[in-house]
Amino acid sequence: MAVPTDGRDRPAPTDGRDRPARVGEATVTETDKDDGRLLLLYRWPV
């Protein structure tokens, strides 16, 4: 197993982390509420 050589000497954060943007079969609707707050609605096929 790869072990960091020094727990304090960590590399700087990088952009574009390789993670999936969506998971499973959900349809996601992303909107801003009237006061600007984010609202996400997740819906799955029946």
């Binding site: 072990v3 960590r10 982390r17 509420k33």
Partner: protein
């Protein structure tokens, strides 16, 4: 609102005075997490029905575009804006349905939403740790009854997670392995503190539990975060979570208040995957049906926990509760 640094402990703390005015235990007909009903004032969700909803908290401790710090700090005690996110995840549109009441398939959907938010929030450069949690029950400070959880995206790794990562690094340097993998393997082998096992997930009362009925839920194999789980894993996790909560609700005959915390890899890009083992920690406060475990002098003053219930006894009782639960 702002974050303030305590140089004595090396910790950042969040200050958010507007939270004093947040909605407090409204009656069900005024629940802000229920669907909006025709002819009634709008709730947080402007639809008559929904599966799972997530929205930015109206009373955040951290937010995407925070105001400048409300106070000035010093070189010794700096301040910073409250960068990050505070989100509410509404588990379903049913005001009364918690994890104990739902189909496993729906709980697996909640796990999918957790995963999506972990990935999306974690991808923001200013976010170092995505913390998924649930406060359930008035005894732990819940202010809204409708079953829901929260997600905080912190700009730095919080103190407890830093402590666990440091301990994990120490173990890894000594043994070349993940400490939590070793803990789960030891618990499964011993068995006397395991309360449920489902398709590669184990639920157990930790050997050195802090709280009388503390339970951890973890995959036996190493998974550093939610994104490492397969669809089958999410179902197994969902099934295990429901088993645990049903056991809790049968333990003393009432819905047991708890805090559920999810620990997983930070998202600061610093390569903690080998050290982080995804797991959930349930920390109910009750030590008997009518007595709470208070955090008093030793815990709050010294950070040294005293547990009045042997973990093996707690596990015995939880296994019995699970066996006779619905």
């Amino acid at each position: 609102m702002e974050r303030r640094y305590d140089p004595v402990t090396g910790e950042w703390r969040m200050f958010a005075g507007h939270r004093q005015d947040r909605t407090f235990l409204p009656p069900a007909e005024f629940c802000p997490l229920c669907p909006t009903k025709e002819g009634h004032p709008p709730t947080e969700i402007p639809l008559p029905a929904f599966d799972v909803a997530v929205f930015e908290n109206r009373f955040p401790a951290l937010e995407r575009r925070p105001p400048p710090a409300a106070v000035s700090g010093t070189a010794l005690s700096p301040v910073a804006p409250s960068n990050g996110a505070s989100e509410v995840i509404v588990y379903s549109d049913d005001h009364h349905a918690g994890l104990a009441d739902m189909d496993v398939a729906h709980i697996a959907r909640i796990v999918e939403v957790w995963t999506d938010r972990y990935a999306a929030l974690g991808a923001r450069d200013e976010v170092a740790y995505v913390f998924v949690f649930e406060n359930r029950g008035v005894a732990v400070g819940v202010t809204l009854h409708h079953p829901h959880g929260q997600i905080y995206a912190y700009p730095d790794v919080p103190p407890r997670m830093r402590q666990t990562l440091d301990a994990a690094l120490t173990h890894a340097l000594a043994h070349g392995a993940c400490v939590y993998c070793a803990v789960v393997a030891e618990e499964v082998a011993a068995g006397d503190r395991v309360i449920a096992q489902t398709d590669g997930f184990a639920a157990f009362v930790p050997f050195a539990a802090r709280f009388p009925y503390e339970v951890h839920v973890a995959p036996a194999r190493h998974a550093s975060s939610l994104v490492d789980l397969s669809a089958d894993d999410r179902l197994a996790l969902a099934r295990t979570l429901r088993t645990v909560v049903r056991g809790y609700d049968n333990l003393f005959g009432f819905p047991l208040p708890y805090v559920m915390s999810m620990l997983q890899a930070p998202t600061d890009g610093s390569g903690h995957e080998a050290l982080s083992h995804l797991h959930l920690e349930f920390t109910p406060l009750h030590r008997t049906a009518d007595k709470l475990k208070y955090l008093a002098g030793s815990e709050l003053g010294a950070g040294a926990f005293i547990n009045d219930v042997a973990p093996e006894d707690a596990a015995d009782r939880l296994r019995a509760a699970i066996a006779t639960a619905r």
